[in-house]
Symmetry: C3
Subunit: 389 residues, 3 copies
């Protein structure tokens, strides 16, 4: 029996007062919007099972709109998904005793085996607000009575812009979500990408390392706006020749294209609750949007979307084709797969909460520390095992 | 290392003063008789390994009678069953150092490798009383020094009657034993059986739900008699037409046979420590006896026996044939298999002890609550991890 | 999250004041030398991954000498072994950010992605002293600042003698290391070996049991010398005819060779931190050396070496041939495999720390108790989960 008291030990939390809320957020934050599926994953009338921050949730699309309820009957805890029964388009019935709920508001509208019960109409299964934007389904993991903030506060800037076309794909990765966020926002980690086929394909450069100082970092924390940390790669000091004992042992890739965004990605940013944007990546004029949505303590839903501003349907279609023909095989599966490998390696260490206090961060990890502090400061609540029970 | 203090948390127990002993009895009760095997499972001279409420036990039939000992040498804890050695019919020898015990009383009668040890004759391996009745082997899980109550106090009334012929089969089910007991005694759960092939075969009826009130429930708690709760189905209010939003979406099966027991089961009862009887089921004039014997916290031995009163060997043989040809495929595997599915679903929720406090029972769950209170009141002890070590 | 406080419960430890340090040493002792691999397992330039007492370690042979470092980058805990990178013979580079360490002293000599970091030259990954003797690689599991004792203090006497030729093979066994040590040093356990093909092959004898008394046991605890317990088999009272109820049911094997060492093994001894020597075994004039090196709480590295004194290269070669042709199939895999079976059986009981207090040792287990007390008295520190994190 897992006890809340042992979720993250208080003795550890008090050692990191500036990012205690982040160390505690093994399962993510509450009262935020999370990307949980691509729109195409839930067709009309279809039921999809999702785990978000440890909570089992069912999605169903009814008359084009997607609704979300907890996958657990309030009567005796049976998962609806074990044998889903839907006698009307907008209700779901528990297969054990016929408890029937409305997808719209979760109200217990009928009990097939006990039609005269006084609880009918007076109890509810938990529902979750859902929004759909840019082909992505977002679920709000909120406390009771909390009015969801607008979705735009919980996604990276530019993502919702009218002219932004996005295409993407998702992976289930076996690491805690925070390791994914830190891996993506870590400027030094380009070292692992030196062998990616993306470099040859785009003829762009990639250093062995590029190093942020506090002057390059901008923290966004204006009220009512997305909260994030931006790291400007163009100002970084850059390493192309990596040495051991004074001898060059590995060389980065220098671009044959003009300097600036044509030559390499110009910056990366990370945003509450768990997303990122990489500018001019995988090529100049593109944006890579990512989500690291917590599934369990040990896994996250890794959604990668490539965005591009378009002025016409034809341009949007061309972007879509390029995603599937070029970016998915070359970048998602030829570049970001290297990140997945790193996260799995990190997980072996950080799965023990104490690791967060024995790690050995260096100067160049400053953006990561800024991200931790931002999360501590601006999250709207911590998900704990009590929310899952 | 599992600690007794965390077996079931005291903070939970104190919230249910009327059935605290039941919430605590994750592994069942002590000082009761349990059905553990069918007689035919243990032939003459044969050794059978059993787990009862977490305790590993060996059965052996010697000169027709079955004996039971703990499957663990007192010397260094070796399981005899890893490599059973029996040099005489009525002893078992540990394969590691030759510690030899009598099946009859557990006394250490010889040590093959150390024949002069002073402990010989002075130590014992734990033994368990065994009784055999109606083709079922019962083991008494008792505290030291406790004289077993007569078996008849721990089985449903009628089961031991001279004219009662029973035939049965058993299944290992992956749920806690209490979920099985509650599933069987839950009048509402007939909803899941609406698709059973048994209905067409017997031409009997089955409502979508039938609802008990306290007037229909009898609690049996006389000293020296079996302790149980009886629910009289014939007085229930019955639902045949199940509606959602006012429209009939599922119909129960109305019998084409005369009203009363001919038409449907007349009542169900549940008995300490973990058995049940369903009257006039699977057909009029039959009794279904069930045991939900705790194996581990997460599994139980589900024994189903169909009983019928007989006046001759020929009638007993006919009943036996009907069991194997008709009831086993149609009722055990075409009706009770649906119960097994429900228990596995319940287990996903109730495996966390806290679930017992967040469940949402309704009026019609009254018989279940009566059963919990009966168990609390009349059990003879709680099995805990300390008994297993 | 495993907590040090629950590693071995204080309430158990205080019940065994004379061997508390042994009960605590689930993962072995610190500041001792451990046999971890055979020399041939690590060829020139080759990297080998080892787990010692829960610590993940990499070995590499550089210019004939073997070095050992912790398999965990100090930066973010990544295991080097996930994708080992070595740009120079005497460095290892973490594949994630290019942190580069010297095998010799563990110093962080370069960071490929951040060559200007102030931490370069100022931090170290943990290194471990390594010694190689008699074809075995020994690693010192030491506290920081502790100067390793000479290897000779941590191996059985005779093992390092110049004329001692040894050949061996190793197995990973799924039991705690202490169960292996006790199994090996347990004079009664010969009972399990009565069916070994070794007996027929050597024409030597093996009783069913032989029983030590304190007069036969010598404890070695002189400062600066190996610490061990020796049990002199030749003085034991010996059992050849094992009885149940007064009838002989099993007979030991009496030797057809002259009495004394020609006829059977003359004694066994166990040594800190986790080795043993059996004299005149598997045949007269041979020594069996064994190591039970802790890997995890539930597994150990079981190294078996057969030693023989030789006067020439030809004799050494003959011994080598006899090992592979005769002792490995007949003794290691026809005798010691029976010990492995016993350890796996013991593990089912002793994996719960409480078992050490509910076991039922007898008079003949005296050598085991002497061994536990020796370990308590003379170990140089206890390995705990804190050392692994």
């Amino acid at each position: 029996m897992r006890d809340e008291a042992t979720f993250v030990d208080e003795s550890l939390l008090k050692k990191v007062p500036r990012w205690r809320g982040y160390l505690e957020a093994k399962l993510g934050f509450r009262n935020h919007w999370y990307a949980v599926r691509l729109s195409g994953d839930v067709g009309e009338g279809q039921i999809e099972k999702v785990t978000l921050a440890g909570e089992n949730i069912l999605l169903k699309r009814i008359n084009s709109k997607v609704y979300a309820i907890r996958d657990r009957c309030i009567h005796r805890g049976i998962p609806f998904s074990q044998k889903p029964e839907c006698y009307t388009p907008d209700t779901i019935t528990c297969w054990y005793h016929g408890f029937t709920y409305r997808w719209f508001d979760g109200v217990l509208s009928d009990i097939l085996a006990a039609p005269d019960s006084r609880v009918i109409g007076n109890r509810k299964v938990q529902t979750y607000p859902v929004e759909e934007a840019k082909g992505v389904l977002f679920v709000y993991l909120g406390d009771e009575g909390v009015t969801p903030q607008p979705l735009r506060e919980d996604v990276p800037p530019y993502f919702l812009d009218d002219d932004m076309a996005v295409e993407g794909h998702a992976y289930l990765v076996q690491s805690n979500w925070r390791l994914a966020a830190e891996n993506g926002f870590d400027a030094l980690h380009v070292y692992i990408h030196r062998t990616s086929p993306l470099l040859g394909n785009t003829q762009r450069g990639l250093p062995i390392g590029h190093i942020a100082s506090s002057a390059h970092i901008t923290v966004y924390e204006e009220a009512g706006e997305p909260k994030g940390v931006y790291d400007d790669f163009e100002q970084h000091s850059v390493v192309y020749d990596a040495t051991v004992d004074g001898n060059v042992v590995v060389k980065g890739t220098r671009s044959s294209r003009p300097p600036g965004p044509e030559s390499r990605s110009s910056g990366a940013s990370t945003w509450l609750p768990c997303s990122a944007r990489v500018d001019n990546f995988p090529d100049a004029g593109h944006y890579q949007f990512e989500w690291y949505t917590p599934v369990t303590e040990d896994s996250h839903y890794y959604l990668i979307l490539i965005g591009k501003r378009v002025n016409s349907e034809a341009e949007a279609l061309a972007h879509r084709q390029e995603f599937w023909n070029r970016w998915k095989p070359l970048s998602l599966e030829g570049f970001n797969n290297q990140d997945i490998e790193a996260r799995v390696g990190l997980q072996t260490f950080y799965k023990d909460d104490r690791a967060w206090l024995t790690e050995g961060l260096i100067e160049a990890d400053l953006p990561i520390m800024k991200w931790r502090e931002l999360c501590h400061e601006h999250n709207r609540g911590i998900q704990t095992p009590d929310h899952i029970r």
